[in-house]
């Protein structure tokens, strides 16, 4: 899919749709879509890492937690303005990803999956026990509302706009990355690392860069989440978040431009509409993406793209 005309129209359409939603006047809808937007941000980053560069991470929930804690700690403890804390959190998380990335990304397949899973679990465990810094199981309450240039985002609807502004920005950035030389190199890397290396792709550097980028996406989402709840608690970022993200990626379509959004929105609606069946959430998500893997392995977007290509290409 080429950029420019191919994505400008859907993007504009999405932006219009996003802007229009609050006109329905449903705070519930705004809240659900705000959450969807947050997860979409993480999913977009994760999609770049896995869908294009081919590197699995089962630990990105940890990066979300880091961003959330950074925002929470810096705004409550250090009195930093929310934007500053968000940027600092993103930068800090990026730095952590940078340090971890080089050694970890040498691993492949299931080794990488296990390693990132371990990292994620370590992060969550530490966050719930390192009481001096993270507040342990109590977490960090009283995170102030996000405010920028005197504008306070104190309602869910305002946060919805903020989150989706960031999400759309992140999406555009991801399109830029996909269509750049870097993006093509990532795809070569994901398809066949040895061949890419032979072709002169600086494999290690690019891997780490996309890993850091995806970590930053997650951290930003995490930071915004802290302001969304006015509260930070490590348990919110435990493995269930990772399962939801994976489900969104698989259902939406791994390695497709729109997959993360197409996956995030409906699944978040499912998750938030369960009401008294909330306990079934993980069961449903797990079953959903397992079924998707069996019958819709390329995800909704991927199957659509393949079907369209099939029609164009003839028999």
């Amino acid at each position: 899919m080429r950029a420019g005309r191919g994505t400008a129209l859907p993007l504009a359409g999405l932006a219009v749709g996003v802007a229009a939603l609050p006109l329905l006047g449903s705070v519930f809808a705004d809240t659900v879509m705000a959450l969807a937007g947050l997860f979409a941000i993480v999913a977009v980053g994760l999609n770049l890492l896995f869908g294009y560069a081919g590197k699995i991470s089962f630990g990105h929930n940890a990066f979300m937690a880091m961003g959330a804690y950074a925002s929470g700690i810096l705004t409550t403890g250090a009195g930093l303005p929310p934007l500053g804390a968000l940027v600092a959190g993103a930068a800090g998380t990026g730095a952590v990803a940078f340090l971890l990335g080089a050694p970890i990304l040498r691993l492949r397949g299931h080794y990488l999956a296990m390693a990132t899973l371990a990292l994620g679990e370590i992060t969550i465990i530490v966050s719930t026990r390192w009481t001096e810094v993270t507040g342990g199981l109590t977490g960090i309450p009283g995170v102030p509302d996000f405010r920028v240039l005197g504008v306070a985002f104190d309602t869910k609807t305002k946060l919805y706009y903020l989150i989706w502004a960031v999400a759309l920005g992140g999406l555009c950035l991801s399109f830029r990355v996909i269509d750049s030389r870097f993006g093509r190199a990532l795809r070569a890397l994901g398809a066949h690392e040895a061949a890419a290396e032979a072709l002169g792709v600086p494999v290690v550097r690019y891997r780490v860069q996309v890993f850091v980028l995806s970590a930053v996406y997650a951290a930003v989402a995490g930071g915004l989440y802290a302001h969304f709840l006015n509260y930070v608690n490590g348990t919110f970022f435990d493995l269930p978040v990772m399962v939801e993200l994976m489900a969104m990626l698989v259902v939406g379509g791994i390695g497709t431009r729109w997959g993360p959004i197409v996956g995030a929105v409906p699944l978040m609606w499912v998750s938030q509409s369960l009401g008294r069946y909330a306990d079934y959430s993980l069961l449903i998500f797990g079953a959903l993406y397992g079924v998707a893997l069996l019958f819709l392995p390329r995800g909704l977007c991927g199957e659509l793209v393949a079907w369209a290509a099939g029609r164009r290409g003839g028999s």
Partner: protein, 297 residues
């Protein structure tokens, strides 16, 4: 602190044996299929939880409940293989698909157990009472001997299976070259199912013996998956004997580090050990049974 050393080591060995059994489950499946079972720890959980379910309030004799649980878990393993893995196998899905799928299984199974059986931690009686026995300077719960005994039996049994039976060698052949194995007449799909059944049964057995020591709950699967994998990697993925040794090493390391490094972060330290191993020596201590192939995702 040092006076605790013998106790720590013994504890470490006992839990290490459980990690070893789990690691064997990983290695068996990896040998036959090159798949890492992210749901391995769930079999262990099922062993304990199903025994609990069948045992109820004690009307069903414990051995019967345990046997039933192991059987049921084995059947569940076969069901998972048939429903979730076989379709992927048939269409020659790429590695990551199996990883994701088994992760989905590792999500569905514990949540199903939580909803259908119980949310709470619980346990059933130890097999031969709780009066501690003396083992040198240490006193040990009798259940620990069951753990060690089972591990020894399993280790010997599997060793014999893979080195002396044609079926065991056929399973090794599949991991080396699936197509050539089929040409020999080896029913690859059935062998894959067999390896699932074996891993599930082993996991369940481990779960049954360890439950009286730690209590069981719907969510104990994941830590055992990670630790079982760590043990398997230490011993060299695919190496059955190595898996058990790896488990023992991990168990002892875990016990020692919880005493001398930190007890506050619990499993995080063990996961840290896993990370170190993966980064420093992913091929493990012993040469793996099958050469690790470089797979592209």
């Amino acid at each position: 602190m040092l006076s605790l050393l013998p106790l720590l080591v013994v504890n470490g060995v006992v839990f290490g044996a459980i990690y070893g059994l789990n690691a064997v489950g990983f290695s068996v499946m990896y040998n036959a299929t090159n798949i890492i079972n992210f749901a391995q720890g769930e079999f262990l959980m099922l062993g304990g939880m199903l025994t609990l379910l069948f045992y109820g309030d004690g009307r069903v004799p414990l051995p019967v409940a345990a046997a039933g649980a192991v059987l049921a878990t084995t059947l569940i393993g076969l069901l998972i293989e048939r429903a979730a893995i076989r379709p992927l196998w048939r269409r020659r899905a790429k590695d990551w698909t199996y990883i994701f799928m088994l992760f989905a299984v590792a999500t569905v199974v514990p949540n199903a157990v939580m909803l259908a059986i119980s949310r709470d931690a619980a346990t059933f009686p130890a097999f031969s009472g709780t009066r501690p026995l003396a083992l040198g300077p240490v006193t040990v719960a009798p259940q620990a001997f069951w753990v060690l005994g089972l591990t020894a039996v399993v280790a010997l049994g599997l060793y014999g299976f893979f080195t002396h039976t044609l079926t065991g060698k056929a399973m090794k052949a599949i991991a080396v070259n699936r197509r050539a194995a089929a040409w020999m007449g080896i029913p690859v799909e059935r062998m894959v199912a067999l390896s699932f059944a074996l891993s599930a049964g082993l996991g369940a057995l481990a779960g049954v013996v360890v439950t009286p020591l730690i209590t069981t709950q719907f969510n104990i699967g994941l830590p055992f998956t990670l630790k079982g994998f760590a043990a398997a990697v230490i011993g060299g993925l695919g190496n059955i004997g190595g898996a058990i040794v790896g488990g023992l090493i991990l168990g002892v390391l875990e016990a020692l580090s919880s005493a001398f490094v930190s007890s506050m972060y619990g499993d995080a330290v063990t996961y840290g050990i896993l990370l170190v191993i993966l980064l420093v020596r992913p091929s493990g201590l012993f040469r793996p049974l099958v050469e690790l192939t470089e797979e592209e995702i």
